[in-house]
């Protein structure tokens, strides 16, 4: 057989490609790009200077990231107190407890008086804090001190300006610390993280339960032979596409209006979004299966149900599992922000911490999210690799 000539004949005229800098189209295109990006810069209000000017505002957060509120210790405190009254009334003598006591150079006086305090019987060589407590128990720090080898200290202070007359001066010395334990923040964050993971699990499960049957209706190769199959297929696919195009965050807002704030709204939002996303992926997995076994099992006289069970299901199970794990992974990541709109989970406390400028607590939540998502990401990758 003769080898076919593959090269095409040359065009008649001697056509020369234009060098780019000689082409007016190039300059027109460049101008158009310039206009587009110039306008984009303006409407998005890009002000790079703010990154520098605002740096001090975010600095505490960056510092907090390095020291999240994770662990805490119980502190043993030795305390002694002595009353100090404004307005000439003589207070009762100070109660001494635990061996330590305070002696004030005077126990009555006015705002702005200089008072010297001598403490005795404290644990030696420790740092301590002197407090002023007013009539309703509000505290302010007067100063700090270090006890000497005999457990004594002396400190002078000025009586502060406070409401009320019956005040108390107290000294506290930290005598030791207990074992390290999880901080209350860590416990709250852990609790919410568990809620987040289960929120994602329930949302994904809801998605899977409804997406599996729908995906069979959304697969062209299965609906083609059914009466009215094209309509069923079209309707299912249209539902998938419309539901998928609505962001889960928007759905979450809708559901918080419907069922109230809390994780249930989040579950519903993730569930509905998962139905559409998984349904589409599942349908495509079904469409890509090998038609041979379907043909072979149909030819044995099997019913439609048997054909699906023995020719379709074995081919799609691994892909379905992989897609489901992947979706759960996405849902865990997404459920961390669904709390921002009231959908429950860790995002709810994270938002609170940020609003209250509790950076160390916020840092704890952020680290928790990062670690959990990274672990799940890795785990789902491993599982998917094993299955497919």
């Amino acid at each position: 057989m003769a080898v076919k000539e593959l090269s095409r004949p040359q065009p008649a005229g001697s056509w020369q490609p234009t060098v780019w800098y000689r082409s007016w189209k190039f300059y027109l295109g460049a101008l158009a790009l310039l206009v587009v990006y110039g306008y984009g810069w303006r409407v998005t209000q890009i002000r790079l200077g703010e990154l520098v000017r605002g740096a001090h505002l975010i600095a505490p957060f960056v510092v907090a990231l390095a020291s999240p509120d994770v662990m805490t210790r119980d502190q043993h405190v030795q305390a002694a107190a002595s009353p100090f009254y404004f307005g000439g009334e003589t207070p009762p003598p100070a109660a001494s407890g635990g061996g330590a006591r305070l002696m004030l150079s005077r126990v009555t006086g006015g705002i702005g008086d200089r008072v010297t305090v001598i403490g005795e019987g404290f644990v030696p060589d420790r740092r301590g804090t002197l407090w002023w407590e007013n009539q309703i128990g509000q505290r302010q720090q007067l100063g700090s001190f270090t006890t000497d080898a005999k457990g004594r200290f002396s400190l002078a202070f000025t009586t502060p300006e406070v409401q009320g007359t019956h005040n108390t001066v107290s000294a506290e010395v930290v005598t030791g610390t207990g074992p390290l334990r999880a901080s209350p923040t860590l416990l709250i964050v852990l609790d919410r993280m568990v809620e987040t993971i289960f929120l994602a699990l329930m949302g994904t499960t809801m998605g899977v339960i409804l997406a599996v049957p729908l995906s069979f209706l959304g697969a062209k190769n299965l609906t083609a032979n059914l009466p009215g199959g094209a309509i069923v297929y079209g309707a299912t696919r249209a539902f998938f596409n419309i539901a998928r195009s609505i962001e889960a965050l928007v759905l979450a807002i809708v559901f918080t209006v419907w069922v109230g704030l809390g994780p249930f709204a989040g579950v519903l939002a993730l569930g509905v979004h998962s139905i559409a996303s998984l349904g589409k992926l599942y349908s495509e997995a079904i469409e890509s299966i090998d038609a041979g076994p379907i043909e072979a099992i149909t030819a044995t006289g099997a019913s439609a149900l048997q054909v699906v069970r023995y020719a379709v299901v074995p081919q799609i199970v691994p892909q379905f599992i992989a897609f489901t794990i992947y979706r759960w992974d996405i849902n865990v990541r997404f459920s961390t922000v669904i709390g921002f709109v009231g959908g429950g989970g860790i995002g709810f406390v994270l938002q609170q911490y940020i609003n209250l400028l509790q950076w160390r607590q916020a840092a704890t939540a952020l680290w928790m999210i990062a670690i959990v998502v990274a672990i799940l990401d890795y785990a789902s990758a491993v599982v998917r690799e094993r299955i497919v």
Binding site: I297, T300, L305
Partner: protein
Amino acid sequence: MGGGTEPILRIEHLTKVYEGGTRALSDVSFEVARGEFLIIIGLSGSGKSTLLRCINRLIEPTSGKVFFDGREVTGASQQELREIRRKIGMIFQQFNLVKRAPVVTNVLTGRLGYLPPAWSLGNYFPGSLAQGAMANLERVGIPEKAFVRADTLSGGQQQRVGIARALMQEPQLILADEPVASLDPATSHSVLRYVEELNKKDGITVLCCLHFLSLARRYGTRILAMKAGQIVYDGLPHEIDDARFKAIYGEDAVEVEIR
């Protein structure tokens, strides 16, 4: 019904026009007697596969009639069609096994037509069927492969699983769609010898598409040749001489021997 001189398969004026106007079969009529090993030859696209699939209505014929064992296939309801299909085994060029399933499950699926559909939800097969499946695997010489995944088997072994699956149906007729086209010559003979054994020992009628005339001459008791959707030759294997060969395959064709 059945038995006696009634042909197992009668095809009357079968025509298939695909959507888009491709005429795969035009007015094909023939009969197949019980016990025949009928081989259909012809170029790719001549309508062989379409013909086989119209017989058990994997492809719906446009017009014409198919009678199997005295029953009309073409007018059958879904339930009747299932009953007819389970008496017609089919083996395929690409074996069409469920690759991820164990061999024995693939064999058992041949029996699905006899079982209540609800059983399949629990993947339930009666114990006697499992024994039957093992017996059929022994028959095709691969009982030791029963519990391995189907896609770990070689091509020849997979086709033998396909034959065992067809045997589970206790068929009266086997349709074989180029069963050895994906196999090497030695394996081709081994597979075809199993089919021949079913034909000779069990009396199962075989309708088999083949590419190679040498294989057709070796195994067939009768040969049909197709060209452009029509039967251009119907006769005994040894009667196909060079002139007839060129009429079937075209003037430029050269016969390739496969031994």
